[in-house]
């Protein structure tokens, strides 16, 4: 197998640029979907009339749709509505919409794993409902949420590659451009790029396992 096309200086630079876009999109979407997911998950947990039902509707519809459909919608659909986002922003938005629904479910089951009796106990001590969530329930839930959250964010990093379908200049897309020009290099190129994703995601998974042990111990 000939890796010379991969390890050409110009090509490596081009892949590096792609990797930076991948990481930029992933990092932004992780932060935003974490925030939105916590809000949505907590709203669903609260059992507030109407609001918790709206949160449930959003979560159930979005998480049961293909991400690629949402990415298409965030690009071609929004354009049709006259919303012209830069492509990077469009993908960040779509990935945030999708992942926040999945994060919300993780948050909700984390919250549910804490005994609801603790809410009553804290309330009877004079905590407001928000204070109870903030200081009593959420800290306990967060610990249990770490492993599924990390898997979700690893999935997000992998899924940024789907944006190749709308030609976001991320890692997979840039690799594709190179091997379309040098078809013999397709397999080495895909292997090399797969390895890059693997190194990032596997390190994250290992770090999460270590953190989990530390928190448990």
């Amino acid at each position: 197998m000939d890796f010379s096309v991969v390890f050409n200086e110009a090509h490596l630079k081009f892949l590096w640029d792609g990797l930076l876009v991948t990481l930029e999109v992933a990092a932004a979407a992780i932060v935003l979907s974490f925030i939105l997911g916590i809000i949505l998950g907590t709203l669903r947990y609260t059992r507030l009339p109407v609001i918790s039902h709206l949160a449930t509707l959003y979560i159930e519809v979005i998480r049961n749709l293909p991400l690629l459909l949402i990415i298409f919608f965030g690009w071609f659909g929004l354009k049709e509505w006259g919303v012209e986002l830069p492509i990077t922003m469009s993908v960040i938005l779509s990935m945030t919409v999708f992942t926040s629904a999945l994060v919300a479910e993780i948050v909700r089951s984390g919250l549910n794993s804490v005994d609801r009796g603790q809410i009553e106990a804290a309330r009877s001590q004079g905590f407001t409902y928000l204070q109870t969530l903030n200081y009593i329930i959420m800290p306990q839930a967060l610990k249990r949420m770490i492993p599924p959250l990390v898997s979700q964010f690893v999935a997000l990093i992998k899924d940024t590659a789907l944006a190749v379908a709308i030609t976001l200049p991320e890692l997979t897309h840039n690799a594709q451009i190179i091997y379309n020009k040098y078809p013999v290099a397709a397999i080495p190129m895909l292997l090399f790029v797969a390895l890059i994703y693997f190194v990032i995601n596997y390190s994250l998974s290992l770090a999460s396992r270590r953190l989990e042990k530390k928190l448990a111990g």
């Binding site: 690629l68 997979t172 895909l190 797969a194």
Partner: protein
């Protein structure tokens, strides 16, 4: 109300696309179950080289993008002189990817049954296979099935990756129909079709999870 005018002339594309999405999902489910079971058995076999292979397989395919795995089959096989339909290319990519998750679900289910039970079963004269079949697997089953259901839902959603390789699935049909007209109503229509497939599956998985967790498994 909702205007279905966009369907005109594309009825057959949408019907074919819907059936392709279902077909790929089912075909990949069978393949990935078979592959996933083999890998799970490798991982708990106690034979070191098999365990290493199983671990490497699971970690590699779980930590790399599905699109890349599909591209491997899409550009890799023709390079070796093997020409496959987009349906098969997509199914193979999806199966490899999903099998790594299924292998983990099966392994976790089996290992959640306390080790002592295997020892007890073996010492009372059952063979390894019998102990698996009559003692371990029936208990593991209830822990394995709900995650498998979730993987099937993911398969249905992920089958949309076929659109990237012009695979003729539902999302691809939407793309084709949307080239010369407004695409928003088409996306909404297609989204509803996906939900028709995934929501009943989700409800089914939720039901099993609730029912079996109440039954006091473990």
């Amino acid at each position: 109300m909702f205007d279905f005018g966009f369907l005109e002339g594309y009825e057959q594309d949408f019907i074919d696309g819907f059936l392709t999405t279902i077909g790929v999902s089912l075909f990949a489910l069978v393949l990935s179950l078979a592959l996933g079971t083999v890998i799970a058995v490798f991982r708990i076999s106690g034979v070191k080289p098999l365990e290493w292979f199983g671990t490497a397989y699971v970690e590699f395919f779980r930590n790399t993008p599905l699109v890349i795995q599909v591209f491997f089959f899409y550009v890799g096989l023709p390079a070796l002189g093997i020409k496959l339909s987009a349906f098969l290319v997509g199914s193979f990519g999806l199966s490899i990817y999903t099998s790594s998750y299924i292998a983990e679900a099966i392994r976790a289910g089996i290992q959640s049954v306390p080790k002592g039970q295997m020892e007890a079963a073996r010492s009372s004269g059952l063979t390894y296979i019998q102990a698996m079949q009559y003692v371990i697997l029936p208990q593991a089953f209830k822990l394995i099935v709900p995650p498998l259901g979730n993987q099937f839902i993911n398969l249905v959603k992920n089958s949309s990756v076929l659109a990237v390789i012009a695979g003729g699935d539902l999302l691809y049909a939407a793309d084709v129909a949307g080239t010369e007209q407004d695409i928003t109503p088409i996306y909404i229509f297609v989204a509803v079709l996906y939900l028709l497939l995934t929501i009943p599956l989700s409800l089914g998985v939720n039901y099993l999870e609730r029912r079996w967790s109440k039954a006091g498994t473990r």
